[in-house]
Amino acid sequence: MHIDKLEKKWAAISLLIAALFVSVILGSAFFHGIHAPSNVETIDSAKLHLSAEFAEDKLGAQQNPDGSLTVRMVAGRYGFFPKTLTLPAETNITFRWVSLDVIHGVHIPMTNMSTMIVPGYVAQVKTLLHQTGDYPMLCNEYCGMGHAHMWSNIKVVSKEQWQALNKQGENHG
């Protein structure tokens, strides 16, 4: 079978290019923990208000002993709850999202806070927000007629400011 010598070289180069991309991706994953959000955990979306974790008074940001944050959010037509959220910059945050109705998706533009929210599952994504400021948090999966209205504004403040806010007794938002 005759294969042109330049075509052979090109086949090898394309393999190397694909290998380059795969190694960067795997390197990020195994050495820096850069992964797609992937915590497989089920939950009954019809009984969230009865669950220990996602009852209304447990939602929002909660500081963990190691200084990181866990933020528990509920998505439902057409908003994200709690409706207001203030978060510290440069802090490890674990977001845990559940849906009370249909599939939603959520992302904060200009950050890597992005995940699908599938009813029946807890979507967990760990990230860190570098910049302070006001960010919109938007639903990005079609969830019905109100999809384009499903959003919140969140505030990202410096670590010190956030600690100060919390000392004053505000746990979320």
């Binding site: 330049l6 850069i34 890597n112």
Partner: protein
């Protein structure tokens, strides 16, 4: 249109496609650079994810 000799024609049909090679090396290099710029210049600076 067909003002090639039989010999010239044969030469072309037996030749290696150097123009294709040049084009594809240029385009793929661009793609690799652009991908690296996206990965290290836009994606990772937005924060870690896991």
């Amino acid at each position: 249109m067909n003002n090639l000799t039989e010999e010239e024609r044969k030469k072309i049909l037996e030749s290696s496609p150097v123009g294709t090679w040049a084009l594809i090396i240029i385009v793929s290099s661009g793609m690799v650079i652009a991908w690296l710029l996206m990965y290290y210049g836009v994606f990772l600076p937005r924060g870690p994810i896991g």
